[in-house]
Symmetry: C2
Subunit: 394 residues, 2 copies
């Protein structure tokens, strides 16, 4: 017998992938220059040149070490490099023993959930949230509980949050800079969140964790800084990926950081290691680990993303769209003219303009555009945005 639940999960293409595939087909019909695909979040700038340089150098060395198994938690030089980088930036001591390398952020999040899940346990998602979180929670032993979006500021709807926390709450998953909104929570928001979780943890007699999913951590603009959450709330598990910061999302390299300040941090770390084992984790890709060992301080060139963000915000606002100005990541959330994001996405499609309704991100009434596209495409797409806007309001 084949699990019907799994068949459905496998068959149901995400709305993003659906649009992305449509775009590729449409490009063959009308020409790639006439399709304005804002669907997918694939970094559009190349990996920093140091990545290839390091790789060429490593290829001169010992193949058996380079491509061999590392320890399950990662090779020591890579863990040391990440620990050193995090310590320098956060001014909190992070040791190599706090780092567990994974095949990207997705299994890092799954392992963190499994490490905490028990029958009936709940994990809170703050809308808007990354569309795969409900899958990760609901199929790794937990139950996803949604907190509706604060659609004014895109911070956290604390009234709604307080109402859903109960004795079964194990963690709150946050993501900032946020996909899809591009928002970075303010200091006030993070401190409020910490206070609430501290109180609730005390009330229910067990820590309620923050699982902080931070693949966009370095993609911030206008001097915005993303806080180091464990310094504010110790019961934090950081999940990170080098996908976006080093423009290599396909390479599946990331890590979990369990800081010493977390309660029973040793047990927590081992629970994540155990959980990873049950997911089929053996080690993170070894070549990439050795590359990270030498390049943990590399940062992305954000100039194109920043320019795109500025252009799109300015142009779309000029047309009449209500946009959330992104502070980070490479997405922008826009209110759907007419109010129905799916309908608007369909209208836009008629103009070969591909935008993702944010329903799956827990934010109906909005659509998401990925700003990691070519500046030329943005310029060519503006008339399509104008037409779709007019259509939606008529």
């Amino acid at each position: 017998m084949i699990s019907k639940m799994m068949v459905d999960l496998g068959r149901k293409r995400s709305c993003i992938r659906e649009l992305f595939e449509y775009g590729k087909q449409q490009a063959e019909l009308v020409g790639i220059e006439n399709v304005y695909d804002y669907s997918i979040g694939n970094p559009s700038v190349p990996a920093p040149v140091n990545i290839a340089t390091t790789m060429r150098k490593l290829l001169e060395g010992d193949s058996v070490q380079l491509h061999g198994y590392t320890s399950a938690n990662g090779c020591k030089p890579a863990r040391e490099a990440v620990a050193e980088d995090l310590t320098r930036r956060s001014k909190s001591l992070i040791r190599p023993e706090n780092i567990f390398f994974t095949c990207g952020a997705a299994p890092a999040i799954c392992a963190s959930i499994r490490a905490l899940a028990y029958e009936g346990s709940e994990f809170i998602l703050i809308a808007p949230y990354f569309a795969e979180y409900p899958v990760y929670v609901n199929y790794n032993g937990g139950k996803a509980v949604i907190v509706e979006a604060d659609i004014k500021e895109f911070q956290i709807n604390f009234d709604a949050l307080e109402k859903v926390i109960n004795e079964k709450t194990q963690a709150v998953i946050i993501n900032m800079p946020n996909n899809p909104s591009g928002i970075v929570y303010s200091d006030e928001t993070v401190h409020n969140l910490a206070t609430i979780l501290e109180n609730k943890s005390q009330k229910y007699g067990h820590p309620i964790y923050i699982i902080s999913d931070e693949p966009y951590r370095e993609l911030v603009y206008d001097g915005v800084d993303t806080p180091f959450i464990p310094s504010i709330y110790p019961q934090t598990i950081i999940c990170y990926s080098f996908s976006k910061s080093l423009s290599m999302p396909g390479e599946r390299i990331g890590y979990v950081c369990v800081p010493d300040v977390a309660q029973d941090s040793d047990d927590l770390y081992y629970a994540i290691a155990g959980a990873a084992r049950t997911l089929g984790h053996v080690c993170a890709p070894s070549l990439m680990q050795w590359i990270i060992a030498e390049n943990s301080r590399l940062r992305p060139d954000l100039s194109i993303y920043d320019q795109n963000r500025q252009t799109l915000f300015k142009e779309l606002s000029r047309i009449g769209y209500r946009c959330i100005k992104p502070m980070g990541a490479f997405y922008m959330l826009v209110e759907a003219p007419g109010g129905d994001a799916q309908h608007f996405s369909d209208l836009a499609k008629e103009e070969n303009l591909l935008v993702v309704p944010a329903n799956d991100f827990g934010c109906p009434g909005f659509f998401r555009i990925s700003t990691c596209v070519s500046p030329g495409m943005i310029e060519r797409s503006i008339p399509a945005f104008e037409k779709a806007y007019q259509k939606a309001l008529n």
Copy 2:
């Protein structure tokens, strides 16, 4: 609350890792040349030189494509290359649509189990089996059921197998060439297995699958050939890894093949895709996929492994050990003199000879040695094998 079950899984180092770490410490004390470490199965021959050549070439190309997301099931050229290679070797048509790339065989097996698991479902392991199988089964929705080893021929104990199959049996996991025994099942064994599973499938009204874990498929000696299981038993899911065949176990690149001949093969494929999603799979490492696309026909240089196998079999037999002559992989299973493998392993340790008791492989009374070591170490280790043998019998 941290899951105690996961903490225990994370803290409990495998016996293999325990010995391996001990060996590294001991080497610092007595010199690396005086430690005879047969514990771990890390390929000791470098990756074929074409791997580095292809990588250098790819680094000249488009970084965004090379390191970008592929489709969840893998980039088309890699799936095409694998399908073409499998078709040529098996003389059964395998299409790119039958292939789903994964981060190695371990998550491929976990996804296959999840695709079939339901409350109470059972998965049969044939001893000796790879020590992580019980973890993969028991933590992905199934229950592992063990069939005791045929310790004469190391084929399958069919009487025992028939007894444990029932209406809840979803699959039998096989591994050949086998880790730890190095045995390849005979044609007769595979056909018997197929007949039993066909009958039982009919009896219980649902297919009982074979999950065929084949990372050692190309590591065979003396002209032995590993059969293409779906040609004999259609309800087969193949899990493969390039870890051993291309000497890159750290790179986490493998695949699932769901052949068209399997019942509802489309559903089965999608169920595995869905299951992979719940494990945090996004895609397999992209650079490695592009490398496989150009090197799917590469085969390992087996000469050293073969030579080691011959030497060890000859020398250990001469001393008096009862060894199972391996037909494939790079392991050898040896009967523990005195009968207690843990005790023998402890005695051997006193001679700085590190061998793994096969208890965790479901084969008590035997120990495993990895033959992927340097020929020089083998030569130096023979006196230690002699001493340990004498000690164990006195």
